[in-house]
């Protein structure tokens, strides 16, 4: 257990205070580790989402404009995954999107779904 220590002053009162301090430091270290791991995971997901979405941007405008090719920004996570999975299996027709969907792993489809759902909320706020 990080933070536990034997090098503590001898008196009980001091000992109590010292232990608490150590405990607080230890807990906050653990907490910050947890937060930074979570943040990095989330950030990496967003980063990966942004990079994957760059591929989509060659045909779909990502600012919500729609001229001839449907906008994909603002689809909910669930809608996006449903549509892409249907393209991937061939259940939904459209040869370009079928080829594109087959080039993505299920994990990548999930990441894109989260990315576009978040972007949709961002676009609405503006």
């Amino acid at each position: 257990m990080p933070g536990s220590s034997t090098a503590v002053p001898a008196t009980a009162g001091h000992r109590h205070t010292a232990l608490s301090l150590h405990l607080i430091i230890a807990l906050s270290m653990v907490a910050s580790l947890v937060v930074s791991v979570a943040e990095r995971g989330l950030a990496a997901d967003n980063d990966r989402g942004a990079q994957l979405a760059a591929t989509c941007a060659a045909c779909h405008r990502l600012d919500g404009h729609n001229r001839g090719i449907l906008s994909i920004v603002g689809l909910s996570e669930e809608q996006f995954v449903t549509v892409m999975t249907a393209f991937k299996s061939g259940e939904r027709s459209g040869p370009i999107m079928q080829t594109m969907a087959r080039s993505l792993s299920n994990e990548e489809i999930q990441i894109l779904a989260r990315y576009f759902a978040a972007r949709g909320k961002e676009t609405q706020r503006r």
């Binding site: 943040e39 990095r40 989330l42 950030a43 990496a44 997901d45 967003n46 980063d47 990966r48 989402g49 942004a50 990079q51 994957l52 760059a54 591929t55 941007a57 060659a58 045909c59 779909h60 405008r61 990502l62 600012d63 919500g64 404009h65 001229r67 001839g68 090719i69 040869p95 370009i96 079928q98 080829t99 594109m100 087959r102 080039s103 993505l104 990315y115 978040a118 972007r119 961002e122 676009t123 503006r126």
Partner: protein, 422 residues
Amino acid sequence: MTGWTRRQFGYLAGAMSIGALRPLAARGQAKAQVIVIGGGVGGATAAKYLALGSEALDVTLVEPKTRYTTCFFSNLYLAGLRSLESLTHGYETLAQRYGVKVIHDSVTTIDPVAKNVSLEGGAKLSYDRVVLAPGIAFKAGAIDGYDAAAIEIMPHAWTAGSQTSLLRRQLESMEDGGVFVLVAPPDPFRCPPGPYERASLIAYYFKQYKPRAKILILDAKDTFFAQDVFEDGWSRHYRGMIEWLPGQFTGGIKALDVKGRLIKTVGDTFKADVANVIPAQEAGRLAHQTHLVDQSGWCPIDPMTFESKLQPGIHIIGDAAKAGNMAKSAFASNSQAKVCAFAILAALTGSERFAPHLFNTCFTLLAPDDAVTSAISYGAEPETIKVNDFFLSKIGDKAETRRAAAREANGWYAAFTHDIFG
């Protein structure tokens, strides 16, 4: 207002702006310098995505021209279906919205040892990385008599702009009953369906205004991309108007007599009223001069990063790159530019790297309401880029499918050019 700004991309891109992952910025050092040379599809896309990806980079784009006319869709202009202006784009948004420093000048030399780039105007720019997108050059001496003067009489129109408008003027002034000869290049060349789409759309123009005119394609090759689909389209839309002669029939194109508008093959001499000569191609001049080219005439690269295999620190994207089985197309250049930009961001800012995605999509018009599509996904391997998955329209598609694809093509052009320049 609804544009994709640098700040918003950063907000969502997240990791790129987390302190620990930005060693250069965190240490308060000067920003890393990336110079993108060439403002075509590959270069402009790379500049935009590099600038979007991190504020820890200074991104400079060097391009002599202030406006870029896309070669893709220029066959629509030749057919009178689009203006050249509608195919022309500027660099203002890259500069204003994304913070790319745009310099309109020509690069004279790249020094890979001192890591600097010299400009014709006298400036010398230091770099951490260069992205070179030089496009194509035409092989000198491939056809006897095809020199700088010949190009003004028998245009290639394979880089868009004044060459394209010259060819259009010639087609407009051609008499009904005249012969238009298109000389198609050997592989590999920019835009594999391009010459045959051009023949299709010029036939569409002739059908309306010069119905007795003929089109003769003299090909260096014995087969071409989507040949059966094109030939089916020609027989449905332009019966008897287009004749295609393969290299094995003519023995290959040998020489031009520009004054007489004669095209000489091994076996015959053909007289043209208008001639469009698209010569054999190789990587652009600067790639040769910087020793980035191998015996093939193209630039060998690492498929994961598009960094040159011959000069470290220089990345080559677009038509000039020797990218395995990837087609030389605008879409492919845009796709490569993104993979390259993310690899450079990872190297210079420490952002995380992910598996590259390389893709190509193509809309090819047989007639204004009959478009053929293709889609290809690729896999980057250590030594090459391979086709993973491939789709191409087929003979016998429903007319409505082809009509829908033609409508989609216009939407795609708007979105795609927005992705590059907007």
